[in-house]
């Protein structure tokens, strides 16, 4: 809201330095966002609040300032040059919808010559960043920016039948507005009509036909109260926003109606017109003013400071409230109509706090009480995953949840995406159904800027419709290309790729105790065949991992291979991890045996592992693959695997013979299952190791 300092001074004497004035306004809640000098005046841009329509005019701001400076608010004289005619002699006013129009006041000014406004008025209008139009229009704007009460001027000659009828529009009616736009009216809209047709959209904009023009001689000034919701709906429906609708939809001052009309009439008579005897005021059912009980002790209870009773009474009266003591320690406060925001005791306490000064409220700490702490397991697990990923050299990214439907279409999805009804742009008109799109955009962005190796991840929600439920699901996305970390002068870059990404996922599942997990080959639309895996925990699928198909890479203009994985943390976290169990450190030494054998290439390590697991050998503590080799020494259809087996007995030291027997069982089993051939002449490596 633009506020002219000169204009304010018409209502209240401001004698403090400018910077103190700005501070004062800030500290009573009228924040000065900026200011500029204009024609010897200073124009402030004040941030006003949606619940304070009274501050949308100079009078309201002056009232606040007067209370803040403890100065009186100056009264102004709105005398008329009168005709010997009653307003009702010239026009008849009927309110047909008394809910949407609770009060309608009007006055007629005759013999006004429509011409440019005098300099003082032009300056005021220009201060509000508006262009002066003519004396009549400028006066109506002057009244609006003085009182915050919007009024409207009709050319009386254009009002058919000398009738003003406030009613809902009939179906099929339309109105050409002041701006020349034809609006189709609906019965939800309140309009001002004459005997024949609509002449204005109530509280929003007047019609072109009845507008004041250079030829106008007599004007009818309307000053009314319209229902805020009705005005807001009409404004939204028609797409017309005006200074008037902005104020009406926040709530106009019903008491101001006749005064605003009078003010306009007084100014127009000073500019040569003559007014009818008095304001014609249709006010069928004046509402009661709100009354609120204010208890003195509640002020301290809410603000944490004792505020003197005299201060409370003074400030509330300065602000226009009527305040009477009811019982000891409490008052009955009557709220003026212009304060639409005040309804409860707490609202009054805020008024007191504002003028007492937030800066004078002491600083304290809340009492020590111990609330029930919520469980934070999910957050802890997420944090553990993040730490693991940082350790694995993955950088964290955060992408917008929005997506382009075209981008989503690249990924085949199980459920439809959620569209945004009123998107910012086409590119952000739905919600992402996968984290991969964002990650690939990040890779492209960074590659275009010279990055080589990239390992990134994001933890965040993906969104989709499941039947009629809008689902948000926590997901983990990983993408990797090139090498890990930074290039090193020794030249041994760690290549990223399948095993790096798999190892990363395995590490997450292991550390969160989601075991046993598996990585099974499974076709997926995103991935190249043979490079496509499903990740499962206890047989249930929780994620995917693979090498992206080239058409996906093409969409993101990526040239190099990118491995990605996406894990549904929501479904993972909904499952029970393996309980943590401490195992005592073994007292007896372990015995290890290494064995290397040749096996056909089509036998997977997973199959070998499962075959050994199936034997459930006693004392076999663990076994690991420590080498996998193929080369000139081995026929091309075979591969050499080297396994290390660790045996341990809980209560004694195992004898070499016992271990050899177990080891033989494994070899026999593998021979019969996979027809393996032992290497190194078929001897079991007997390097027993004690640790």
């Amino acid at each position: 809201m633009k506020i002219s300092l000169e204009w304010i001074k018409e209502y209240v004497a401001v004698k403090l330095p400018f910077s103190s004035l700005i501070d004062k306004l800030d500290m009573i809640g009228l924040v000065v966002e900026e200011w500029q000098e204009k024609d010897g005046d200073i124009i402030l841009d004040i941030e006003t609040h949606a619940n304070r329509p009274d501050t949308l005019g100079h009078l309201g701001v002056a009232r606040e300032l007067a209370a803040g400076l403890n100065r009186p608010l100056k009264e102004k004289d709105w005398s008329l040059v009168e005709l010997d005619q009653e307003t009702s002699d010239l026009i008849d006013i009927q309110i047909l919808d008394r809910d949407l129009c609770r009060r309608y006041s009007g006055i007629v000014i005759r013999d006004i010559q429509v011409k440019p406004s005098p300099q003082w008025l032009r300056k005021k209008i220009e201060a509000m960043d508006l262009n002066p139009v003519n004396n009549v229009v400028d006066v109506t704007n002057y009244v609006l920016f003085s009182t915050a009460h919007p009024i409207h001027a009709f050319d009386l000659a254009k009002i058919s039948g000398q009738k003003i009828i406030i009613r809902r529009a009939n179906k099929g009616e339309s109105l050409r507005t002041l701006e020349g736009k034809v609006v189709n009216l609906s019965p939800e809209m309140l309009i001002i009509g004459d005997a024949a047709k609509p002449v204005a959209l109530a509280g929003v904009m007047g019609g072109e036909d009845s507008a004041v023009s250079d030829a106008t001689r007599d004007v009818f000034i309307e000053s009314a109260w319209f229902d805020p919701i009705s005005v807001r709906k009409t404004s939204k429906e028609t797409g017309i926003k005006t200074d008037a609708s902005y104020r009406f939809e926040r709530g106009a001052d019903i008491a101001m109606c006749p005064q605003a009309a009078l003010m306009a009439a007084s100014l127009l008579t000073r500019l040569g017109g003559k007014a009818t005897k008095e304001v014609f005021d249709v006010y069928p059912k004046p509402p009661q003013k709100k009354r609120i009980i204010l208890r003195h002790h509640r002020i301290a209870e809410l603000l944490g400071v004792e505020v003197n009773e005299d201060f409370v009474q003074d400030i509330l009266s300065d602000l226009g409230f009527q305040i009477e003591s009811s019982q000891t320690g409490s008052w009955q406060v009557t709220v003026p109509f212009f304060r639409v925001d005040i309804e409860r005791e707490a609202d009054l306490i805020e008024e007191i706090a504002r003028f007492y000064g937030y800066d004078k409220i002491p600083s304290d700490f809340p009492p020590l009480s111990i609330p029930e702490p919520p469980r934070e397991e999910k957050r802890e697990m997420i944090n553990k995953i993040r730490q693991l990923l940082f350790h694995q050299s993955f950088d964290e990214v955060i992408n917008f949840s929005f997506s382009d439907p075209e981008r989503e279409a690249v990924f085949v999805k199980q459920h439809p995406e959620i569209a945004i009804k009123n998107p910012i742009s086409q590119k952000a008109s739905c919600l992402r159904t996968t984290l991969l799109g964002g990650l690939l955009e990040n890779i492209a962005w960074n590659k275009n800027r010279g990055a080589e190796g990239l390992n990134i991840f994001e933890i965040g929600n993906i969104y989709f419709w499941n039947e009629s439920t809008a689902v948000e699901e926590l997901s983990l996305g990983l993408a990797t290309t090139g090498f890990v970390g930074q290039r090193y002068w020794e030249g041994k870059d760690e290549e990223t790729g399948y095993f790096y990404l798999k190892g990363t996922c395995e590490s997450i599942l292991t550390h969160l105790r989601y075991e046993p997990f598996s990585f099974q080959e499974a076709k997926h639309d995103y991935f190249e065949e043979g490079f496509s895996l499903a990740i499962a925990y206890k047989g249930e699928k929780v994620g995917i991992l693979g090498l992206l198909k080239s058409h996906i890479l093409d969409f993101f203009s990526l040239k190099d291979a990118v491995w990605v994985a996406e894990l549904s943390l929501a479904s993972l976290f909904s499952k029970q991890p393996k309980p943590f169990q401490y195992k005592p450190v073994a007292k007896f030494p372990s015995v290890s045996r290494d064995v290397s054998f040749l096996v056909k290439r089509n036998v997977s390590y997973q199959a070998v592992k499962e075959a050994i697991d199936k034997l459930s050998l006693p004392y076999l503590e663990r076994f690991d693959l420590y080498d996998r080799y193929s080369g000139p020494a081995i026929s091309r259809d075979r591969i050499s695997l080297s396994l290390r087996f660790i045996y341990r007995h809980p209560k004694k030291t195992l004898l070499a013979k016992e271990v050899d027997n177990l080891q033989l069982r494994i070899i026999k089993h593998l021979k019969s299952r996979f027809n393996i051939q032992l290497r190194e002449g078929g001897q079991i490596d007997k390097r027993a190791r004690k640790n």
């Binding site: 500290m27 809640g29 925001d341 409220i361 304290d364 009480s369 919520p374 917008f400 929600n461």
Partner: protein, 347 residues
Amino acid sequence: MPDMKAFKNKVAKYKRDFDKSILLVKEEKSLQELRNLYLSRKKGHLTLLFKDLMALKPEEKPAAGELINDLKDHILENLRSLKETFQVEKEIVKKTDFTLPGKARYWGAPHPVHLFQEEIEKIFVSMGYSIEEGPEIETDYYNFGALNFPPHHPARDDWDTLYLTDDLLLRTHTSPVQIRVMEKRKPPIKIVIPGKVFRKETPDPTHLPMFYQLEGLVVDKGITLAHLKGTLEFFLKKLFSEDVKMRFRPAFFPFTEPSAEVDIGCTVCEAKDEECRVCGGSGWIEILGSGMVDPQVFKNVNIDPEEYSGFAFGLGIDRTAMFAYQISDLRYFYENDLRFLRQFLLK
């Protein structure tokens, strides 16, 4: 009978041979071989010379002995000196250029918004707050209705909302979680709520359609505005610095009454630049919205506002990070340029 002359010649020959041989020695091993050739106790040339000496006349023996000793000294001195040379060479070869860069595992970088979120959370956790979260897709009721935004009220215009259906929307603030927590739990409540929020805003240096907020809520008997003030002052001092300038001024939020906005002294110009792009020359940066929980909000979750009171506050995490690190454009946070993101590893 060997004579002295022949003996002398022999010594001289050994010396010449030795001097030739030692020039050919290129490594320590050959040096040892050369040493053995001359000085081995059994078959060394010098050992054999002693045998020749024994055959000389007694009066010749001292001179001959001296000759051997001279030769021995000569050999030992040369071997020693060459050995030393080898030693020095070995040292030089062994020595690496220790100024070459060391090798470390690359540590992935947390996203700066998360990093800053954690920094803020830590301060509140130290004051006994716990952390709550809630859904990003919300209903109109939780985002607005329960928070005392009447339907069709212009206050809703201040929260530009992205709608999914007539009733479902992307939450415009983390405040709905206040309602969800108060519905579930009895006071005392002392929580902070971090999370993503969404607004219908076209991205520019100071606006984003998605950003992070952190909301706080304290509900108990006897909570006052003074408690809010003390809490936020403590928080801002910890987050920025002990001497951060602050002011509380009246504001309007439908879900708090009284409401307050909190400004800090401009971290960029320190109120010295009238053209400052960050504070617009006012010297103040708006950092927090806050207030006493509105009685209507309490009624909506069946908490008696006569018995309990509370305060709530909220701040933009990205926006605050922007001021804390003097980042000129909020969009940097979501471009995910690793040259930007990785810098915060050092934080």
